[in-house]
Each structure stands twice: as structure tokens, then as C-alpha cells.
Symmetry: C2
Subunit: 404 residues, 2 copies
């Protein structure tokens, strides 16, 4: 590997999104990330979406560039092999897990008996270790009650899972922070990251709890309007949608130029007594701004509106479906982020590398996700130093498995 | 500072969410994070939500534990001071910015003339440097077209900003990766992280682009249903809502026990010919499962339903508003994540520390956000070594400012 994290090894025991995506983030930066699963597959080995042949596109997306080892986790010998792998000597070893148990062979206390400076990240549901997922964590944050159409009653769930994403990247960050600490002090440690606390900390950071506490209000459901400035969706003549926002002076001028709104905006400023160059002014006059923009967008196609907004330097974007995005020239086909790769058992499609570009290391093209157990033998041999006959015996005894 | 990142210094030039939250993430782990702003304030100094006195709760949320220096960024002497601060010697210095310019005094090329091993993270909108925000990036990902009530037409924006959150934590991770690289090689570097690429990479990771490419479908809008397994919101007798999910065998049994559904679930399995212990089985029979659960939830209060689900170990959560969350005993008042602090100019309210618990360093209680320019003098003196009379002159000439 040539990435910025070359030399770092992570053993990952995971499922669903947060832990696998955290591990993949490090793998795509050049770390050797070894995901272990039970020989029968993990909780998410076949998770939907799947292809017509039942291959998981979910697994393929979240495990790119990792190596996979499949071991019978119920077998004492299998557990022994994994313990040896997790605690193998080497500068960069760490473990990244979903719900690491408090007791037993995979607990931090047991593992560090074999390697005192082990670093382990334990992603858990709540701080008490109770199971939680993005959906349940999201429910208590308050966001579902302010998401969705303004006239809607009841909660609206997030589809892009904000707390899994945050936990994945914050978890990867935490492992590097601990690795820095070990480099400076020689000391390993266990890190705990509860998904629920991640969501609560971010909700606090975003000011929602402060607003509830200090202003004693629940922010109303605002539909697609952006609170405290200007932004909303607009429908085009051909039934598409665009989002148009204003976050700075420059965006006011650009939008005015794009739609020929300069005079109308000035009239709004005069009538409402506001300055559209301020957040508060835009927010106060948002209905009037919409009344100006709406008919203009409705009278043009998405192509026409987009061309003019882009030319003027406005802050806007078209709404796309996943299939439209897939076919988008700028976002996907001309974007060096994406490479068409052949994912074994699934086929060829554009797949993203890391979004991070490091000046000191070229960005590696994305590598496929492994098949379950694809690297079992090379890991047993290359890292644990087992001879071929012993690996063969482990297969015979069904303690390990190769690719299925 | 006593945190895990003690010794690391970051100078942050930022606005809005991604960069300030990334900087705060490191500050809450013990890094010395110095946010610089123009003496007139940054783009987000007064951003809503604000208190009745116009103090920004948004700023207070996203800048906790940082130091603030306020400098006239249009003044050459002001720029010189900041250049000296950013490139000051020290093991851990790095810079974390939103839209670092390609040219001029704040460009990486200019800064590294003063310090060859400088690490800089440049968060930008698109890979070409065009402005983008979470809302515009989200529009093209495809998610708004599948979020919200199943019968809704048109896009539904995210309120919790998934791509800002991802960029914040991935950015913090990237700075640590570069610091590791510098520790190993002595080499600094510039890192580029486009918000749009972050969103596209995550959308790819989550399998949505693979599904569009391989299965050639746009996933339909599913309302609050969780794709490929079982989960949805349910309305209680007292007009509250709960989310109930099934992600594993254990959750099927727990839910059956909570509601007394064992017989009904068995009947569904027989009638539909499915196994509710599989994702596919639950997905296929989701309407039947809802028909069993819905009347049960509707016949009980949120308190009753919650008590029974919790007792049984089901995967569930109540939906809360921000004010309900603020008053929640378990999530906030009894949660060591939160401390009631006094935010100058705003007041006392519960504020979150980092959600990360490192075994090798106790978690620090959250510290307030600085007032703009609160640490100007101590930074000029402590880091740049300026004598008191020179600092006084900088104030007189309005090149720097103290707290406002």
C-alpha cells in the first residue's frame, strides 16, 4: 500500500454501517484493514440492497479495500487464531469493533493480556452498552420532528444515516489519536464511542439544545426552508427541482443577476425594511423572495435555470435521483473520485475512492470489497506464520473458511 | 490541557459547520485550537439561532473549548501576524480551513515558505473550489428524493446536515493522519477535502450508487420504513410516536415478548411462507407485522409502550422534540456527556463534551465557546512573543481586537 496510512494495521469486528465505514475509511487511506467474520457470515453479509443473485451491494459498498478472514467464532481454536491476529506484534495494530463484549475472549481485558499496548475502539449503542441503531438514536435527537413538509404531522426519519456517518469518521479519528498517544508514550488503550452520545454531542454542537434551553422553544418544522437565512427547493417547468440558497452577499448578487431580480430585491428591501445582505434580512423576507424566484423557476426548464444560475455563480444545485446522479457527467463520470471497478460476483460500476486528497501520497483508486474469507489463507500464513499443512487442517476441521 | 491530543496546535480559519466542528472535535480532545476571525466577525459570528440579545447559539455550539483571535484580515500587518501564528514552530501545528485560497497570503504555497512542514487541511465545496453547502451537496446525492412521507412529491431536505458532519470528523481524522505522516517522515502537506466528494463517497459506500447501477432501479420513497429489514414509527394512544426496529433474531423475540405477539408472528410466517428471523422475511411481511404492532401501540400510552419494550430488550426509541430531549433524564441529565456550563453572554445550559472516552486520558468537561477575540492578547503574547506595548499599539491601530 502506498496511502498516507501505510504501515497501520486494523483488525475489524463489525457489522452494519458505523464500524465497517470507519474501517473502510482507514483502508482507503492505505491501512491494512482486516475484517473478520464468522464462517457463516456476519449480521450484514447479505444485507439489502442485493443483486438478483442475492449478492449484497451493501457489503460491497462498506468493505472496499479490506481483507477478509472467515473463522468459526464459536470454536475455541478459531477464537485463539483471532486473538493472535488482533494482538500480533507490529507498530500499527489496533482493533475496531461494534459492541466489543465486556467479558470473554474478545473483551479488551482479555486481549491486552496478550499485548499490553493494544488499541481498541469499541463502538456501542448507548453508554451502558445497550443496542441502538441510527434510527433509534435519531428518534431522540429531535430532528425527525422538524424534518419533512411543514404541514406534516409526526416524525420523518433520515435516510442518509447522520449518526452512523459521524460515528464512522469520528471513530477512525479516535484510533489515530490513540495511535499518536501510543507513539508518544508507548501506552495502548480502549476507546469507547457510544452511537447515542455521538448523536447527542452533535445535536448539542449544532445549537439545537442551546436553542431549546435558552430560548425555550421547539424550532417549528420549516419544510425545506433553511433556518435563519434563505434557501428552499423550487419546481421547474419540466417538473424537476432545484435548491437555491443564499449564505453570503455574493450569493444575493449572483441570484439577482441570474434571474434579473435586482429591482425586485431592492423593492423587497424597501417594503420590508430589511437588508438582504444579512441573514436576518433574508429570513424575514423569505416569503417575498420565494414569490419572486418561484415563477421564474417555474417558467424555465431545469436545464435553463441551472445554466443561468451556474453562469452567475449562485449557490444552487439540482435535485437528482440516485440513477440521475449515477449518470451525471460532472459528479461521477468526470470526477476522479470515481473509478469503474469490477466487484467480484456483482459486476462493473463506478465506485468512490476516499474523498481526501493528501499532497504527500497519491490517491489510490478504489479496490473491490473482499468476498467473505477471501484472504483467510494469506492472513494465516503471512501474519500468523502458519504452515500450509496447518492451514489445510483448519479448513478440514471447518475452523476457517475461504471465499464463498 | 490533559486530553489525548495535548500538545497539538491547530489554527482554524473557518465558518459554518464542517470546519468549525472539525476543529472543535480536536479541541475537545485537548488540542490547542485557535480560531481566527476578522475583527468585524466571520460569516457565522451572529448566525441563527440567536438569543433575545442577538448572541449566536450556533457559534456557542460549534466553537467550544477553542481560543479566539480577532484580526483585521484586510490589513497587511494583520495578515502578517496570522501568517506568523499559523507557521509558528512547534511539534503539532496545522491549519484547518474552509475554502483556503489558491493564491495570496493564506494559500498553502505562501504559508509553507515560512514553514516547510506545515500541515493544512482545505475543506472546499466542490473539487474545483466552487462554493457548496450541505443543502446543495445533499440535493445531488439522491437522498432528498427518497426522504419523507411515502406519498410526498418532491424533495425533502435533511435538517441534521449529514455531509457537514461527515466532513468535520473526516477532516479531523485527516489532520491526524498527516501529523502521523510528518512524525514518521518530517514532511508536511496540504490535504484537500471537497464537501461534495465527501457526500458522493459516502453515498457510494452506502450502496445507493451500486443499487442504481447494478439493479437499474431508483429505490422508491419508503416513508419511515427501514429498507430491507423491519422498522417504522408507530403512534401511541397519547399522540406520541415511537420507532420500533428489528435488526436481529433477538429483536424479533424481544418484540414478540413485549407485545405478546409470538402466536401472531408465527401465523404470519406460516401464511406468508417467510422466516421472520431473516431480513428478507421481515421485509416481505412488513405490512403484516405493522398490522399486528400498530393497534397494540395505539392502545397504550408512550410511557406504557416504552416500559414494556425496554423491559423486553426490544430495539426501539421514543421520538422526542428538542425540548423533550433537553429534559430527558437518561439522555441528558444523568448522562456524564453533559455538563451545565455558563456560556458568557448567553447563560447556563447543558452542553456536551466529546462523545469519545479514551482509557488513557479522562474526558474533560466541555468548556465554553470564546467570545470573538477573547484570547487575542494571550495568543499575541504567549505564542508570538509580542511585548505588551506592541500589543497595545495593534489595538490602537485597530489591527487586532479583544472580546466584543
Amino acid at each position: 500500500m502506498t496511502g498516507i496510512l501505510a504501515g497501520l494495521r486494523i483488525v475489524e469486528g463489525s457489522a452494519f454501517i458505523a464500524a465497517p465505514l470507519g474501517g473502510m475509511t482507514l483502508a482507503q487511506l492505505g491501512a491494512d484493514v482486516i475484517r473478520f467474520d464468522d464462517i457463516r457470515g456476519g449480521l450484514d453479509s447479505d444485507r439489502w440492497p442485493v443483486t438478483k443473485d442475492g449478492r449484497s451491494l451493501y457489503w460491497a459498498g462498506l468493505n472496499k479495500g479490506k481483507r477478509s478472514i472467515a473463522v468459526d467464532l464459536r470454536n475455541p481454536k478459531g477464537r485463539e487464531l483471532l486473538t493472535a491476529l488482533i494482538t500480533a506484534p507490529g507498530e500499527g495494530a489496533g482493533i475496531f469493533t461494534t459492541n466489543m463484549p465486556a467479558r470473554g475472549w474478545l473483551s479488551y481485558d482479555e486481549l491486552r493480556k496478550k499485548r499490553a499496548d493494544l488499541i481498541a475502539l469499541n463502538i456501542m449503542g448507548t453508554r451502558d452498552g445497550a443496542a441502538q441503531v441510527d434510527y433509534t438514536v435519531n428518534a431522540i435527537t429531535g430532528f425527525p420532528m422538524v424534518t419533512g413538509p411543514a404541514n406534516h404531522r409526526g416524525p420523518v426519519n433520515a435516510v442518509a444515516p447522520p449518526w452512523d456517518l459521524a460515528t464512522a469518521y469520528a471513530g477512525a479519528m479516535a484510533l489515530l489519536a490513540a495511535e499518536r498517544h501510543r507513539r508518544l508514550t508507548g501506552q495502548g488503550q480502549r476507546i469507547v464511542l457510544p452511537l447515542q452520545d455521538m448523536a447527542l454531542a452533535a445535536t448539542s454542537a449544532l445549537g439545537y439544545l442551546g436553542e431549546a434551553a435558552i430560548n425555550d422553544v421547539d424550532r417549528p418544522r420549516l419544510g425545506n426552508e433553511i433556518f435563519g437565512t434563505f434557501g428552499r427547493d423550487f419546481r421547474t417547468k419540466d417538473g424537476k427541482y432545484v435548491v437555491i440558497c443564499i449564505f453570503s452577499d455574493r450569493h444575493v448578487d449572483a441570484l439577482a443577476k441570474a434571474g434579473g431580480f435586482a429591482r425586485a430585491f431592492a423593492a423587497v428591501e424597501k417594503e420590508k425594511g430589511v437588508d438582504l445582505k444579512t441573514d436576518a434580512g433574508r429570513w424575514t423576507a423569505r416569503a417575498e423572495l420565494c414569490a419572486i424566484i418561484e415563477p421564474w423557476v417555474a417558467a424555465h426548464t431545469a436545464g435553463e435555470v441551472g445554466a443561468v444560475l451556474k453562469e452567475a455563480g449562485a449557490l444552487w444545485a439540482p435535485y437528482m435521483t440516485f440513477r440521475e446522479l449515477l449518470q451525471d457527467k460532472d459528479a461521477v463520470h468526470d470526477n476522479p473520485l470515481f473509478t469503474v471497478i469490477d466487484q467480484p460476483g456483482i459486476g462493473r460500476y463506478p465506485v468512490a475512492a476516499t474523498p481526501l486528497q493528501f499532497g504527500a501520497a497519491p490517491r489510490d483508486a478504489p479496490r473491490p470489497a473482499p468476498l467473505l474469507g477471501q484472504h483467510t489463507d494469506e492472513i494465516l500464513s503471512g501474519i500468523l506464520g502458519l504452515p500450509a499443512h496447518e492451514i489445510a487442517r483448519l479448513h478440514d476441521e471447518k475452523i476457517v473458511a475461504g471465499p464463498r
